[in-house]
């Protein structure tokens, strides 16, 4: 596809996002994305026409609500090429998915002396649950270190894997470095030593085709709100044989078969893990977001994000006094570019840009162990969705070039 054609399509799809009509450059998409009308309409339509408590009522409306929810599950399964809808557990977000997994899986599968391998570039939500469970089970938390560009070498991985390894927790795309990890290759090595691999897909699933069967990952977690869906709906994918062996994470309504004072049996997978009234509206919204992504197509999404990333990196490098964190090569960044402005605290940079309508993230990005590893306290991050334009990148660069001057520093 030519660049002109991509630009034309992006312009057309950008109009689907009501919020983007405001005079801002929204460049914090790794935090959350904006929502197209189709997603908002789908949620509204569900509540206006089909809302009832699913699974419970034996009447048409409740059955329709159940159908909406289960259709969303099937749609999500197909989106990541899962074996079946039952491989999808709906949760609130990737954080909940990872907590569910760590709490439930480790409880019965982790013993004293076992090892859990976690990379140093994980988001806090893919670090803290494993750390907590490892401590609880007297297992060891093994730190997997990439090089400073975020690349995980075979040597680094081999050093961490042993016959004691039970599970490896790794992100597919770092929310700071933007680097894509070769999950398929890493999963092969992890499986060869008899362990499982849990993949944090929060930053990958919205930006590239993710096929769980091709990757052969045991678990995959992601959030709906980072992929044009509503907040409050997320996904834990898992292989059936693992889910079957996991105990419930939350107890309550609709996750049981029978409950008596002295005898309880739990519902089948995946309902065993979805206690309480589920978020049907959210699932319907996620389903509409998946339809939207399929309609736009990965070719446009990936091509446009690549154009934006390249332009941002080239532009940042042309400004004196700014340092890009991680790889200096645009090809190593999946729509995420993190940087530091010399002598300027990231919050000042973000504040100054914010006053000009340029929204970027500043801070530790919920990845403080990575900040320690990289030797920085906090950083600025610009992150793209396909609906961003080159004009927005230029607006960002223009404002960024003024920051040091505004704070009194010469160039």
């Amino acid at each position: 596809m030519t660049e002109t054609k991509i630009l034309e399509k992006v312009k057309e799809y950008r109009k689907c996002f009501p919020l983007l009509s405001q005079d801002i450059a929204y460049l914090d998409n790794a935090a959350t994305t904006q929502k197209p009308s189709k997603v908002l309409d789908a949620v509204r339509d569900y509540y206006e026409k089909n809302n009832a408590n699913p699974f419970r009522g034996v009447y048409d409306l409740s059955e329709r609500a159940t159908e909406c929810y289960e259709n969303a599950r099937a749609k999500t399964a197909a989106f990541i090429n899962a074996e079946a809808p039952e491989n999808i557990i709906f949760v609130r977000n990737a954080s909940e998915a990872l907590n569910l997994l760590a709490y439930s899986w480790c409880e019965d599968n982790l013993a004293e002396g076992d090892e859990v391998v976690v990379s140093v570039m994980e988001h806090h939500s893919d670090f803290l649950p494993w750390k907590y469970m490892a401590e609880k089970k007297k297992a060891h938390l093994v730190k997997l270190e990439p090089d400073e560009t975020g690349y995980i070498s075979d040597e680094a991985l081999d050093k961490c894997l042993s016959e004691k390894t039970r599970i490896v927790a790794l992100t597919q795309v770092s929310n700071v470095l933007g680097r894509v990890n070769d999950i398929k290759h890493i999963a092969e090595k992890v499986h060869a030593c008899g362990a499982l691999i849990s993949v944090d897909g929060a930053q990958s699933v919205p930006h590239m085709k993710v096929d769980v069967r091709e990757l052969d990952c045991d678990f995959l977690s992601f959030s709906g709100h980072k992929m044009f869906g509503p907040m409050g709906i997320g996904v834990l994918y898992g292989k059936r044989e693992h889910f079957e062996k996991m105990r419930p994470f939350m107890y309550g309504g609709e996750m049981i078969q029978t409950v008596h004072w002295d005898r309880v049996t739990y519902a089948e997978v995946p309902h065993r893990f979805e206690a309480g009234t589920v978020n049907v509206g959210g699932a319907v919204g996620l389903s509409a977001a998946i339809d939207f992504i399929n309609e736009v197509g990965w070719d446009i999404i990936e091509a446009q994000e690549e154009i934006l990333t390249k332009r941002a990196i080239e532009g940042i490098r042309a400004i004196d006094g700014i340092r890009i964190i991680g790889s200096q090569n645009a090809n190593d960044h999946k729509g995420i570019v993190t940087f530091c402005v010399n002598d300027v605290h990231p919050h000042d940079t973000s504040d100054i840009l914010g006053r000009s309508g340029v929204c970027i993230r500043a801070g530790h990005h919920c990845a403080q162990p990575l900040m320690d590893f990289l030797g920085v306290k906090s950083t600025c991050r610009v992150s793209f969705a396909f609906y961003n334009t080159e004009e927005e990148v230029d607006r960002f660069l223009e404002e960024l070039s003024k920051v040091r001057g505004l704070l009194g520093y010469g160039f």
């Binding site: 605290h345 000042d348 504040d351 801070g363 505004l406 704070l407």
Partner: protein, 143 residues
């Protein structure tokens, strides 16, 4: 509000060339302050003799607002007695909350340059970090 009133010369100057950002020898009191919204930490050190703050300093990292604010504060409270310092801290915190009168702001001298932060909820915690820490120190002295 434009940059001129917010990142004004007073702020940028104190941020770039702080007068009191260093350790002092044998401080009588030392207290750490944390900005929970960003994790930035500063440590305030004071020397207090007969109720008079004879010397003071701060160390740590943070944004221009927190650093400038802490530097201005230390400069103002050196030579004051603790009651006066507490009074200034109260005034400053009231100013940032948008509750101070013009007279009270005038009393704050250079620190009045930060008054516009009362319109910036996201930066309030940066501005008050040093002042709250001193406020805590003085409250602790009463006990």
């Amino acid at each position: 509000m434009d940059f001129k009133t917010f990142y004004n010369e007073v702020v940028t100057d104190h941020n770039m060339h702080p007068l009191h950002k260093h350790s002092i020898e044998d401080p009588d009191i030392e207290m750490e302050g944390v900005n929970p919204s960003c994790g930035d930490e500063i440590t305030v050190q004071l020397k207090v003799k007969d109720g008079i703050i004879s010397d003071g300093s701060f160390i740590g990292d943070g944004c221009a607002i927190s650093q400038a604010s802490a530097d201005i504060m230390i400069d103002m409270i050196i030579g004051k007695n603790v009651t006066e310092a507490k009074h200034l801290a109260d005034n400053f915190i009231r100013m940032i909350k948008g509750e101070a009168t013009q007279d009270e702001i005038d009393e704050l001298g250079e620190a009045g340059a930060l008054s516009d932060i009362s319109h910036m909820p996201a930066r309030v915690k940066c501005a008050v970090l040093g002042w709250r820490t001193v406020d805590e120190i003085i409250k602790g002295m009463d006990k």
